[in-house]
Amino acid sequence: MQIRFDKLGVVIAAIAAYAAFAAPFATFRANRIVPGQARSILEALPTATGTLLLAIVVIAALIALFRTPLVLRLAASVVALAALALLIGVAGTYLTPAGNTFARVSPASGFWMLIFAFTLLLADVLTRLNLSPLGRIGVLVVAALAIGLLLISGSWDNLSILKEYANRADSFWAEGSKHVTLALGSLAAAVIVGLPLGILCHRVEKLRAGVLNVLNIIQTIPSIALFGLLIAPLGWVATHVPGAAALGIRGIGTAPAFVALFLYSLLPVVANTVVGLAGVPRAANDAARGMGMTDRQRLFGVEFPLAFPVILTGIRIVLVQNIGLATIAALIGGGGFGVFVFQGVGQTAMDLVLLGAVPTVALAFAAAIILDAVIEMTATKRRVETA
């Protein structure tokens, strides 16, 4: 039998080999700000466990390297990822001297590269399995549950990022909810304003270029500059408009962050609404008018449902963008996960930076998967004919 290589598998196996044998698996530091010392897999884990992990990585990489059945590849990626997730916690406990609360153990480049390699394998398998939208959301839920279980079980408690969390558990959830409120709230405001604006731009051709150009310019203003630009007008509003200050409107804080995110959100929502409405088949629109639909009936009965998947794509862009951008809000006292990122940068404590960055990335990733699935579900039902 001829042995055949899998193209992506070659890359995965190469990354895994380098990560497992040449890169550090974990970093040990005597306290949270001193430079760390690298530990390989065999140094970071008890001998038997380390050997087991190496064996799992090698076998999984070999399965990836050759053309093997999808089920086998799925199993290899899941087992490898699970082993890595469990054993990095074991490394934390093993490397931390008993009773020492200052020492920090964190995952190092080798660990992250292994995670990357096998996530790549898993993603490739899932793509080839051609899962239904609901199936993909199911996979996401299972992954979230698995990570949640690991967190609750305490097996990661000796990792640096969770030690940072333990010190800030209360503010973590408070900032987290602020982050989500900022991202979702500004999205909701952008949809409420952007949809009618997009419809108006579609109907009134003279408005279209002007509105889209203004929104384009806003989009190019760097976020920090936009915060700065908003301080003066919002400050003025707070002092001169009765009741504004009571609503929480100030030159700094949540208000300018909200306004900035809202402004950034407008372009994708408006532009996609315009594109979506323009993509409605001309004949369908003509028939709708010819059969006696009023403008409103045509908008809600024909144009809007047909443009919906495109508009939803704009909303997806905004949501993912906002979850990321909301991090910057911490700079002007707007709160959110960015608080930990900027504290961490200030203290050169990378673990604290990660405490802010990891949940942000996870949220954005989950939002993208869920909305992609929703878009696909709406689009298959409303497929535009090719005739």
Binding site: A284, G290, M291, G292, M293, R382
Partner: protein, 312 residues
Amino acid sequence: MIEIEGITKRYDATTVVDDVSMIIEPRTIAVIVGTSGSGKTTLLRMINRLVEPTAGVIKLDGADNRSLPGYELRRSIGYAIQGHGLFPHRTVAQNIATVPVLLGWDKARIKARVDELMTLYQLDPEAFGPRYPHELSGGQQQRVGVARALAAEPNVLLMDEPFGALDPIIRTKAQEDLLAIQKRFGTTIILVTHDMEEAVHMGDKIAVMDAGKLVQYAKPAEILANPASAFVETLVGASERPFRLLSLGRVRDAVEKGSAEGEAIPGDASQRDALAELLWSGRPALPVKGADGKPLGRVTVDGLVKRAARPA
């Protein structure tokens, strides 16, 4: 009855439809023929006020078509277009039910009407009703488009090149279906096309338009025999003229006494088909049979050739 009186449509300096007047008798098919840009579609769209005229009046059964709001007027007039314009996000049944739903019919009545039309158009309501337009063939989509236009039992049906996107075989079938349905419901149909063949075949009267003007409005035989201008003559096609004239007549009307050898041709067939068969088989005469299969007589090449000549 549709009375078009001095209708003009100008866009800025361009006159698209120029002072057109014509009367369309109830329960007939009027075909508007012309080249692209002749204003035929604009004229059609002014009847249901998708386009508002610059000057002139259009009366439907004596009432000015501006006496109702545009959308209410359009609900009372059937409208079918090239490329059918079906709503891709609605099922076939929902598409057909569009106007009845707009008019607020009750569910049972809508379902009964949708089922009736689908059955009429040889689409099984159980099988095709829940499907989406993209799951249908081009011919089926076109039939759904016409069924949708007829759903609210309109007296008038406007059709803008409804068969333009169909292949020749399906187009012939669609034309026959439309003629049968027009007879059944007695709908007044105004059909726009650029195909003179289709116009001669479908129309009780043909209106020829050129550069916004109505050049000639007459029965097909009259248009063929006495084209009003060089333009109409070109449109008719000098080389096609005798055959188009023959295609208007039925074999039954050209029967002579006597008998002939070979397979009989039905009396309902067109004289053009009979001549084609005679020429192809190299025979001087064909036997003709009635609908009941009884022999009626025969048609001859000589007889048909005489009928193809320019009428006196």
